[in-house]
């Protein structure tokens, strides 16, 4: 199963987050609305109660009379939802509003003076109601027994209706908002992911052979990726042409020794000894050709993705390995590393370069080999860039001027030559140095033998 697209991942995630966020907002809003509606109701009930109390007075016999008519007509309309009762604290109902006609509502009584309480109750028929009870006494009478409990009851159905209505509107608006936000997000995503889509299309076109590289301008987040893809494509095609060239050279240069061998086999007059000698010579030649061309093809070269390496680590490895191999020769080898700077070079290439140079030095030296790694300012370069300088010096016979000229000269068809001794290693070193835009110098060393200097850009 293919994994979901970035677009749908973002939309699914955003959808969940929005739904969660808006649900919580909705619940909070609904609860707040209900609380404030109930608060308003309670305030109204307090007013009703105050009006009810104000409309009463006590006569000389201590009986309570309604001296004003109540201004609220709902008290007089049966089933209006607003009810009131006055209960003497001995249990007698002194007065109940005409709106309570035919209804039975149990409510609290027996409140002492000054006590008041809101309570959620239900009518006998199961309607939700809110009651406000308050305890009162008249004049000097202070005992609870002679007091009255005034009760105002309001039907909660109206509030429920309001809340329901509010909830309905709320969820419709929040749902609408979610849809609008998701649509906006989709559009934003589409716009944001346009460069990615374009890059994918361009890569598709490269695959189809319509383009060689990714060409358009890309935002900062993607330009690293597209530049690296371009670098990879370039490196790949360089590798490919190097392989092709090496294979071509290999095939071409192997033909000559093969022709010599065939000639030798077909020559009827040659002795076994001559034949053996010819075969031996040609095997050696073919071996060198194969070795040189294959190693040249295997050289990686600098790419945008080459991780920096510590040249000291590689040099030490090569140095230790060669000290082991040449243990019998008792070479006084010295490795001096005067830099900790890292180098953008493929490890195998640096090892090949150092391996060949140091191996040659150990092979040809009398006793002493000096290997030095240091940093050097390039005097020829306008910006005086810093380069890594690798110097390998020995006290051997040195390198002939003829070989020096051949190695330094570019485009030397080395595969055509019989390469031996210093030659094969130096030819490979020269190739690697060229690949990294470096410089190779051959000098006479203060020790008496050859001094090879390699300059590599960092």
């Amino acid at each position: 199963m293919t994994p979901p697209s970035i677009n749908s991942r973002m939309l699914i995630a955003a959808g969940f987050i929005l739904a969660g966020f808006l649900s919580i907002t909705g619940i909070i809003l609904e609860r707040t609305y209900r609380i404030s509606a109930e608060d308003a109701l309670k305030e109204r009930m307090m007013i009703h109660l105050s009006v009810l109390i104000a409309s009463l007075d006590q006569d000389e016999q201590g009986n309570i009379h309604m001296i004003y008519a109540l201004p609220e007509p709902r008290f007089f309309t049966p089933g209006s939802g607003l009810y009131a009762k006055i209960i003497r604290n001995n249990g007698d109902i002194l007065w109940s509003s005409p709106s309570m006609l035919g209804m039975e509502i149990a409510s609290l009584d027996g409140f002492s003076r000054g006590d008041q309480q809101f309570e959620h109750i239900f009518s006998a028929s199961g309607k939700p109601l809110l009651s406000l009870s308050i305890g009162l006494t008249w004049g000097e009478h202070d005992s609870t027994n002679e007091g009255y409990t005034f009760v105002v009851i309001e039907d909660l159905e109206r509030i429920e209706q309001q809340v329901k209505h509010f909830r309905h509107n709320l969820w419709i608006s929040l749902g609408g908002l979610t849809v609008v936000l998701l649509i906006m997000l989709t559009l934003i995503l589409r716009w944001g992911l346009t460069p990615l889509r374009r890059a994918a299309r361009e890569i598709g076109e490269i695959e189809a052979g319509k383009h060689r590289e990714i060409e358009g301008e890309y935002p900062r987040e993607l330009s690293g990726l597209t530049n690296n893809i371009n670098a990879l494509i370039r490196t790949n095609s360089e590798h490919e042409s190097r392989y092709t060239a090496s294979l071509g050279d290999l095939a071409h240069s192997l033909k000559t020794p093969l022709a010599v061998l065939r000639g030798a086999v077909e020559a009827s007059d040659s002795s076994i000894e001559t034949l053996r000698k010819t075969i031996e010579e040609q095997i050696q030649r073919m071996d060198q050709i194969v070795q040189y061309q294959l190693q040249r093809a295997a050289t990686s070269g600098r790419t945008a993705l080459t991780a920096p390496i510590n040249p000291e680590r590689v040099a030490s490895k090569v140095f230790n390995a060669l000290n082991k191999v040449y243990a019998d020769k008792k070479v006084e080898g010295n490795l001096n590393v005067n830099t900790t700077h890292e180098l953008h070079i493929e490890e195998g290439d640096l090892m090949e370069l150092l391996g060949n140079l140091v191996d040659n030095a150990y092979k040809w030296c009398e006793r002493r080999v000096e290997i030095t790694l240091s940093l050097e300012q390039n005097p020829h370069h306008a910006h005086r860039t810093t380069r890594l300088l690798i110097e390998v010096a020995d006290d051997g016979p040195g390198i002939s001027q003829q070989l020096q000229d051949k190695v330094v000269q570019r485009g030397w068809r080395r595969s055509e030559e019989a390469i031996t001794g210093h030659g094969l290693g130096l030819a490979l070193v020269s190739d690697i140095v060229n690949l990294y835009d470096g410089e190779l110098k051959i000098k006479r060393s203060p020790l008496g033998g050859a001094l090879i200097q390699i300059y590599l850009p960092l």
């Binding site: 295997a298 019998d328 150092l354």
Partner: protein, 225 residues
């Protein structure tokens, strides 16, 4: 001297086997890393020739495992790829020298001899003890400059004793280093070789180069000039 060859290519393995047996080595062969590791672990090998590119367990892994097991005999690696990365990796794993394919058999033998000498702490190709001189490369032994006529097995016994001069070498050890794994051994043969060597090296019974330590073995005592 007992040499282990680990090479998966049959033709080359046989050529190496044939050549080294011809040169007087006791030769054990293995065609993969597992087998090579087993032989290297279980038998007293003096030197090994290991191809890096083996199937399953690579030559480098095999060398690493043998070194982990404390086996310190010298190892020469054969590599088809001439890349320095491979050579350095092999040498880091514990090999002592390398040879790139294709190679000359003379070169291989010279390297093996150098490794054996190095392992024995001898730097030249000749070992001299008073009037006796043994040349590892030419496999010749002279007494006061006169070439002695030794058989291949007599030479092997003398070479092993002289390379390990001063040490007591038991008959079993001597047999194991002279004969390959699948050889039917008879330790009496060693006594016969020692007897003949004594007669040839010391006809007048003056210098007594090979000492017998009863129940323990033999010791070659170097005479410094």
């Amino acid at each position: 001297m007992r040499v282990l060859i680990v090479e998966d290519e049959e033709e080359l393995r046989q050529q190496l086997h044939h050549r080294l047996v011809g040169s007087g080595y006791a030769v054990d062969v293995a065609e993969n890393g597992e087998e090579g590791k087993y032989i290297g672990k279980e038998f007293p090998i003096d030197v090994a020739v290991v191809d890096i590119g083996l199937p399953n367990m690579s030559g480098i892994d095999m060398i690493r495992k043998l070194r982990e097991l404390g086996k310190d005999f010298p190892i020469l690696i054969l590599t088809a790829r001439g890349r320095w990365q491979d050579k350095v990796e092999g040498l880091e794993a514990g090999a002592d020298d390398y040879l790139v394919k294709p190679f000359h058999m003379e070169e291989l033998e010279a390297r093996l001899k150098a490794l054996l000498r190095r392992a024995a702490g001898v730097s030249q190709s000749t070992i001299t003890s008073g009037p006796i001189t043994l040349n590892i490369t030419t496999q010749e032994v002279t007494l006061d400059g006169t070439l002695l006529d030794l058989t291949a097995y007599e030479f092997k016994v003398l070479e092993y004793l002289m390379l390990n001069a001063g040490q007591v070498i038991s008959k079993t050890v001597l047999t194991e280093h002279i004969y390959a794994q699948d050889y039917d051994r008879d330790s009496n043969v060693i006594e016969v070789f020692i007897g003949r060597l004594r007669r040839k090296l010391d006809p007048c019974n003056e210098i007594k180069p090979i000492e017998t330590l009863r129940g323990r073995g033999y010791r070659f005592n170097l005479i410094k000039e």
